[in-house]
């Protein structure tokens, strides 16, 4: 098999043809600056407002509550820093979870440095936030709760509704990093009591370099980038028109295909999980068995290390990712895998496979076969496996 089998859709996705085509006119033909007043620019402005309306509709929000940004990370930074700043007189306390994306965790560390207090609430062995600990963490001076919608590594979906209720009952702003869930799960910001929500275009078959931040009208947070009237004066910078159009189109497709896609992907995901767990011994599934993103499978293969696994998979034209230290550029394996209670040894041997609606069963059969061979090969050179076999 020479065609690439791409199973890293949580990292990024292929732009859909329909999205690509929708973006095309905004590079060379309709290139006018949407902030200008002549009719030529009006076309771009109209298209942007149309995209905004599509996104708002998908989230059950109002169009003026949707702000286009440069990435999911920017949205996370904006939400946290601006919410903290706007409420600094009210309190200095922020609550988050231990398994957030670094765009949240590193921003929290920054906020700690400038005087805010952060409580990191633990998760259980499936990666679900401990609601009782979250409740207990709420203080009089808590100004923000930020918990991701679904985890990027292990796919676990969080009890967002319960968290939203808790936040609102206590008059606390609720932000969710929905970068992995947006377009894959139905999200109703009213029903879920979400005040701030981050999403990214390239995770949903849209272009890179475009994100959104939903800001509830009643959530008074300031601007993040100063210097222009774009995005109601709250996010300056000339509009990324093709990116915004692409984001809108990708949302439109995601909205239209959501149930169909989820059914297809989760069917394949369950097939993959069942086959891997039965065919490869000493393997575990990381994350919640059912309450997980429809396209996410995350395994730990005992006695072996993730980077070796990735290189050998790559040589078989399979693109995947791992939470091993060697792939993160640090000595520590994934903070998410450690947070669900895995010892380092097992966290190092993790493999994340994330599917798309283009993934086929034939591809997965090939991957399962190759994976089995590769795991055996690495175990045969592992001193940990040798010790285990001799002990048994």
């Amino acid at each position: 098999m020479s065609r690439l089998i791409y199973l890293d859709n949580a990292a990024t996705t292929r732009v859909k043809d329909e999205v690509y085509e929708a973006m095309q006119p905004y590079f060379k033909e309709l290139y006018g600056n949407p902030s200008s007043i002549y009719r030529f620019a009006g076309e771009s402005k109209k298209a942007i407002e149309n995209a905004r309306a599509v996104v708002a509709d998908f989230l059950n929000a109002k169009p003026e509550e949707i702000y286009f940004t440069g990435s999911g990370s920017e949205s996370d930074n904006w939400a946290l820093k601006a919410a903290a700043f706007a409420n600094r007189e009210k309190g200095k306390h922020i609550i988050t979870s231990t398994i957030e994306h670094h765009a949240i965790l590193h921003t929290c560390e920054y906020l700690e440095k400038i005087g805010f207090e952060i409580t990191y609430v633990d998760v259980d062995e499936n990666g679900v936030i401990k609601l009782d600990e979250l409740k207990a963490a709420v203080r009089k001076d808590t100004i923000l709760i930020t918990v991701m919608f679904a985890n990027n590594e292990i796919g676990t979906i969080q009890p967002i509704k319960e968290i939203g209720e808790l936040a609102h009952k206590n008059g606390i702003l609720f932000h969710t990093d929905a970068v992995q869930a947006y377009g894959h799960e139905r999200i109703d910001v009213e029903e879920l009591n979400i005040d701030l929500l981050s999403a990214s275009g390239h995770k949903i078959n849209g272009p890179k370099g475009i994100g959104i931040l939903y800001i509830r009208n009643s959530a008074k947070i300031g601007s993040f980038i100063h210097g222009g009237a774009q995005e109601r004066g709250r996010r300056a910078g000339t509009h990324n028109t093709p990116g915004i159009i692409g984001f809108g189109k990708a949302t439109e497709i995601a909205e239209r295909e959501l149930e169909k896609r989820r059914e297809y992907e989760s069917g394949l995901r369950d097939y993959l999980i069942d086959r891997v767990l039965t065919k490869i011994p000493y393997t575990r599934l990381n994350g919640h068995r059912s309450r997980r993103l429809s396209n996410n499978a995350n395994f730990s293969f005992r006695f072996i290390e993730g980077e070796s696994l990735l290189i050998l998979l790559d040589q078989k034209d399979i693109a995947a990712s791992s939470g091993s230290a060697c792939t993160s550029g640090s000595l520590d394996p994934s903070h998410v895998l450690l947070a669900i209670g895995l010892p380092h040894e097992i966290a190092h041997g993790s493999l994340r496979l994330t599917l798309s609606d283009e993934t086929t069963k034939e591809e997965l059969d090939y991957v399962i076969d190759e994976l089995k061979k590769i795991v055996e090969r690495l175990r045969n050179m592992s001193p940990l496996y040798e010790d285990f076999i001799k002990k048994a």
């Binding site: 949580a10 990292a11 990027n152 590594e153 767990l277 039965t278 065919k279 490869i280 011994p281 000493y282 393997t283 575990r284 599934l285 005992r302 006695f303 072996i304 290390e305 980077e307 070796s308 990735l310 290189i311 790559d314 040589q315 990712s321 791992s322 939470g323 091993s324 230290a325 060697c326 792939t327 993160s328 550029g329 000595l331 394996p333 994934s334 895995l342 010892p343 380092h344 040894e345 097992i346 190092h348 994340r352 045969n380 050179m381 592992s382 001193p383 940990l384 496996y385 040798e386």
Partner: protein, 157 residues
């Protein structure tokens, strides 16, 4: 979660076709170094004859591409050498023989050197030998965390 690091051709060759993988029964010396916490464990087996020549040498490694390649290269470099020569093996020599390592992987070559030392130390101890330049290995393998087999309860066969 991110990308695979750039490795030299030599590193990839030793990773794909590791030399001397395996075990030696009744080895003259065995050394195991590293710990699972950092994600690298290396074990080296030596078969040393009465003239103190390393007749055979095998390894097993749990770790990344560089960990496998450096242990493979280390065994190549000491095979057929005297124990005195093997004692002179440095991590730098391993790195050079591999055409260099990415900066974040230099610790793998240190571990390979350490594994050779540990195996020689074991050999010296077993035979009550004094060898100039031989130091006790840095043994932190005992840091291994205990965990319940239950973590794998859901697994297959």
């Amino acid at each position: 979660m991110s990308q695979i690091i750039e490795y030299s051709e030599k590193v990839m060759d030793h990773f794909n076709n590791p030399r001397n993988v395996g075990e030696i029964e009744n080895a003259s010396g065995i050394g195991t170094v590293g710990n699972a916490k950092c994600g690298d464990i290396m074990r080296i087996y030596l078969e040393i004859d009465e003239n103190r020549i390393i007749k055979d040498c095998k390894f097993k490694t749990f770790g990344c591409g560089a960990a496998v390649a450096t242990s493979s290269m280390a065994t190549e470099l000491i095979k057929g050498k005297s124990v005195e020569e093997a004692l002179k093996l440095t991590n730098k020599a391993v790195q050079e023989a591999l055409g260099g390592l990415p900066a974040v992987k230099v610790h793998c070559s240190l571990l390979a050197e350490e594994a050779v030392y540990a195996a020689l130390w074991d050999y010296a101890k077993k035979n009550n030998l004094q060898m100039e330049g031989l130091r006790p290995p840095v043994d932190d393998i005992e840091e291994r965390e205990e965990f319940s087999e239950k973590l794998y309860e859901k697994s297959g066969e």
